[in-house]
Every structure is written in C-alpha cells, then in structure tokens.
Symmetry: C2
Subunit: 368 residues, 2 copies
C-alpha cells in the first residue's frame, strides 16, 4: 500500500493481481445492483475463469459477498456479487484555518460519523494542531464497524501544497506551516496508536471532485467558490495534479488584462472579478464570470461534467447553476457540447471531507 508513484514503474505479478482486483472492485462499486462473474468478464476483457479466481480471493478477503441470483437468460441464473460496504472504511479530514471536519466513510460512501472541531491551521503550533487531529482520528476510528479495516486518512486543505511530500507551501499568513511535515507527523502519530499506515494530503478542490458517484472514465471539473476560487480536475477519471500539485488554479486565469488588481498580483483574474461582484452583493455578475471561466475550461479540456461547491455557491445555487449552463450553451452551441452536465456537488458542505476519505479508498483499492 505504498504511496502513489509518478515515474513509470515496472509491473510484476503482484501488481497484475492488484490491478485486476481493483478493476473488479471499481466495477462493482459503480453499479449498486450488483453484477455477476460473467458480466465482469465481459466488461474487463478477462476470461470468466480468471474473474472467478479474482472474485474468489475477494470473497475470502471479505470485500465482496454473494447477494442472491439474477434472472435467467435461458440457462443457469447468474450469481450476483455485491461490495460489502462494512469491509473497510476511511477517515476524511477537511482542514481549514479555524475549523476542521473529521468523518468516517465506508466503502459504499456512507458517512458513519461526522464531527466538526475548533482546530485549524491558524489555531496554534503545527505540532499541537496535528496532535489534536490525530486524537480526532482515533475517536472517529472507534465508530468503525466490527472487522472493518481502516484503510487510511485523507486530508483536504487549501493549497499550495505538495501531494508527493505531504507538506504545505507558503500558506498565506501561516509561515510556521511552510514545509512542515504535516502528513509525515500525522502518519507517525497514528501509526503508534493505530494501524493506519496510509495518510494522504491533497488540495481541497482535488478531493472534493471525488465526492460524487465515480465516473470511471470521462472528465469532471469541480469548481469551488468560497473565500477564493479554485478547481479540481478529474481527467480520464483520475485526479490531475500536475508535477507540483499546482494544477487547478482556475481562479487566476486572466479574463480582463486591464481589470481590477487581484491578490496574486495580476489584473483581471477570474477570482478578482468574482470577488469584486460578491463584495457588491451581486451574485448574478459573479455567476456570469464563473460561467465564462467554466466555458473556457470545458472547451480547453473537453469536460463532461461540472460540479459546483463552496459556501458562495450554496448561498444562491440556482443563480450559479443557471449562469454556468447559460454561458456554456452560449459559447459552445455545437451539438456535441449539449451533453455537458452542470450540477451541485452531491456531498454539499461535506464535499471536501467526504472526498478526502474517498481519495484514500480509491488509493487503497487500487483506484485504476
């Protein structure tokens, strides 16, 4: 259960087995009604016998159970298989400046426990904050069902940060956190008390994009409008981070080179334009700008689905949904773009914490 490798790696038999097991699991996760071995064979391209063996291992591990029979199609009816949600769970943390949310998610994506605490990046020394988080994780883990394996802890946080090293980079106004080994310390604290070897740190927008029914293929953009404006990109079904985990800086695209000055130093950034409109209590104008940026994004990356989140969105959701859909329809009138879906993130205000746990589950189960 090592950390995700970026450089190309050779594959061996163990990797082959894990890959196929993860593939079968992801297919079973995608369809709630359950699937049979033959169906899985058709979808994976593997032989039915290979699927039987793989499923046999998953049954032995308790990750999957046989769940009744399907209808006959002229012969022996199919034995249905279903993911056992209580076989594993993961902890998700939304780490904010002043507050944090810690929750426990099972394999099916059901929230088993959820707590908010007055601990945040700005509430003290990094060592103490991480210690408090570790304590919160320990409490959350106690809510895990009997026999459930705790797969790890995911932390979603505002960037800039480095996914590879698990550290923040020059967070505004918080110099003590710059380069502080957030993931490393949390991992060692938990490893001492629990059996939680896997800790992942990622941008809030990246993990929030995962807090929606999994699209194995296709491309999704999660747009987050709160204190700032950022995006999380799921390209071909996987989080796209770039080499330095800096991808998704959606808010700082210049849309008006002679526009208002942004906190980043440039002029006429999308974020500056949206924030100026919100300061004037004009969400409609902010929504229009957001829509223009979204249309640019859809066109540049051939995006299939847009998810909206963040407290500014939730304050007047219909305004934003309408404006984004309108701008896409206006700027991309061709028929092939009509299928772009625009919706609110189904996890609502918990999107970051839910997605952080989901990131761990995806990673532990192989996450194709």
């Amino acid at each position: 259960m090592g950390r995700m490798e970026r450089r190309p790696a050779g594959a061996n038999l163990a990797g082959l087995r894990d890959h196929n097991a993860a593939l079968v699991l992801s297919l079973l996760r995608a369809r709630a009604e359950g699937g049979s071995r033959v169906q899985l064979a058709a979808q994976t391209g593997l032989t039915p016998q290979a699927v039987s063996k793989i499923v046999g291992r998953l049954l032995a591990d308790g990750l999957v159970v046989e769940a009744g029979r399907g209808e006959s199609t002229g012969g022996k009816p199919r034995t249905l298989l279903a993911l056992r949600p209580e076989a594993g769970c993961a902890v998700g943390i939304e780490l904010d400046r002043q507050r944090s949310t810690i929750l426990l998610l099972d394999l099916a994506g059901t929230t088993l426990r959820r707590r908010s605490v007055d601990i945040g990046l700005a509430s003290g020394e990094p060592e103490r904050v991480v210690g408090a988080l570790a304590k919160g994780v320990s409490q959350a883990v106690r809510a895990a069902p009997d026999g459930a394996k705790v797969l790890g802890v995911g932390v979603g946080c505002r960037g800039p940060l480095d996914y590879e090293t698990g550290t923040l980079h020059r967070p505004a106004g918080l110099p003590a956190w710059d380069g502080f080994p957030l993931r490393g310390l949390l991992e060692s604290l938990l490893d001492a008390s629990l059996d939680v070897p896997n800790v992942l740190l990622d941008k809030d927008t990246n993990v929030a994009a995962l807090a929606a029914p999994a699209a194995v293929s296709g491309s999704t953009a999660y747009l987050h409008l709160a204190d700032g404006l950022g995006a999380g990109l799921l390209l071909n079904g996987a989080v796209y981070r770039g080499a330095r985990t800096n991808a998704g800086e959606f808010g700082h695209q210049v849309l008006q080179p002679d526009g208002p000055r942004c906190t980043c130093g440039a002029r006429g950034c999308l974020e500056a334009l949206c924030m100026a409109a919100l300061a004037d209590d004009d969400p409609r104008t902010a929504a229009r700008w957001l829509g223009i940026g979204a249309a640019n994004l859809v066109r540049l990356l051939d995006i299939d689905r847009i998810l909206l989140g963040g407290h500014q969105i939730f304050a007047s959701p219909d305004v934003y949904l309408r404006a984004v859909a309108d701008q896409i329809a206006e700027h991309l009138p061709e028929p092939e773009w009509q299928s772009v879906q625009v919706s609110l993130t189904p996890a609502g205000a918990s999107a970051v914490a839910v997605g952080a746990a989901q990131l761990v589950i995806d990673s532990a189960l192989g996450g194709i």
Copy 2:
C-alpha cells in the same frame, strides 16, 4: 496491435510483458547514450534478473543492440544497450486543405524521406484524396531500410475530429468529409497492398506536441499559431484528448467578453484577438495576447514546458518567445514557476508530420 482502448481493461501476462518491454524501450529511447541493465532495473523498479530477461527478448527481436561498455564503477563495467533505430519505422502525414506532407521516420526520430504533394482535403472527392495518400504512403515505405518493420501510418489534421472513430466532424467548408471514414478507408487500402495494419488519425496540434524529445513524465503544451490558434496537451507524458478529442481548444478561451467577434460566434476569444493584431501587422500585440493565454494555461494545468509552432510563430520567433516568457514571469512570479521552459518546436515546419509518425511509434511500442 489493437486500437487504444479507453475503457478500463483487465491485464494478463501478455499485457504485463508488453508493458514492461515498452517501458524499457521508452527509457532507452529517452537517453541517446544508451543504458545498462542495472540502470534500467533501478529506473523501473524491476529486479536486474527480470530486466535481463526482457532485454534478452528485445535483443532477439532486433529492437535493441549491445553497444560497447560503460566505465567501471569499481567492478565489472556495464554493458551498454541502445535502441536499433533501423529496426522499425513509421509514416507520418500532415493532411492540410491544399497540400500534404508525407514522411518516413525511424525509431530514433530521424527523417528518412520527406515529400510534399499537392493533395489536400479540398482537392477532390474524399475517396480520391485518400487513394492518393495511400499511393504516397506506398512510395514512402519503399525508402524503409532492409528488415525494418513498418509500424503504421499517422495522420495529423485540423480538428474537429474523433480519434476513436478516425473521422472528421463538420470541417468548415468541406461537407463531404463530415463523418467520412478517413482512417478506415486508408487502413483497408494499405492493408491490401502493404502490411500496415495500424493507422491513427489525430489533431495536428496533438501530434505536433509529440515532435520533441520525449518527456516521459511532466506536462507539455504545444501552442500552434497559423491560420488559427490551437494547443496540444501532453499531460503526465501522454496526449490528453478528452472524451470527444476536442481538448486543446486553446484559441477560443474568452479573454475579453466585450472584445471583437470571433469566427466561433463568441466575443474576445484569444484567437480573435491574436488574429486581429496580425491583420494590423502587429505581431507584438499578438504575442502579448498569446503570452497571457499561455500563462493562464501554465497556471491551470501546472505545465512544465511550452513549445511554439505554426507559420506565424516562425515569421518572428523571437518576438513570441520573449513575449510568452515575459507574461509567464509577470503572472507567475513565484519561484516554482521559474523552471517553465519556453522554446520553439525542434521539428519546425515538419512538426505535425513528424509527430504523426511519432504517435504511431509510441502506440506500437506501447507508449506507456
């Protein structure tokens, strides 16, 4: 040598072997001076013995040769391995409106033969045009070295098109080509006369991005400024196409919502702004706009390297190189962005044809 699959597929032993062989080949292609088995083992994570076996198969296939010895590091000196460039070759076609370029490339990326012909999308019935292209391919293939395997034919063309089906979509002013089975017909024509099973059709900007020393990891954007403005994206070392091969519509990002009307219907598209400046014979202003768009792109996708191409660029290359670098430096002053490289495409005016052949080579060799 099937077509690239988008949906997740199960892996078996044959796939495992091909994956590792392709990995070793790509590492050998990346370094011209050649590498040893031990180095390859360290880079791939495989055991030295596994690499020995893999290299043994590649030697037997003639794809790799032993090329002298390296310096000793205290013990037995390393046996250097090198790709055998003449083991295989691929045909690349740049298919334009009035003219086309057909060239033959070997595994090392050396152009063995290059011809331009007065055949293009606008020069007749699709059937006749494809027939003429097939004839040109046959002639090019005759220049292949003895024993060289012809891996396939790549075609680079202006979008919109569909990589999966190998057809154009509503090309402006060329209704006969809409949905015409370009790839399918070329494949069957060649299959009858030659042994060229693999034909690929992709956007000109996508393949042009491949016409540069391979960056196995990292992200590259190729910006093409000619009659229009588009981009080819290499994300994590692989071409990113999106679900409908529409990704890379870089030129139609709106940068001035009240700006000049673009051919696409919107106002203030980057392409419209650049073209207006060029119509005024003002490349400096066009270059400044291109730079702003490039900075947006770098920030959004965490791009490592920018390549510039297209005849407008080559008309005054220094102006564009300077302007793009300046805008990136201005909009992204933080130290982590200072390493972004900006350069002209090394393949110059042949970038599309070279890249089209490279796409085939990448695909046939596994292309990680």
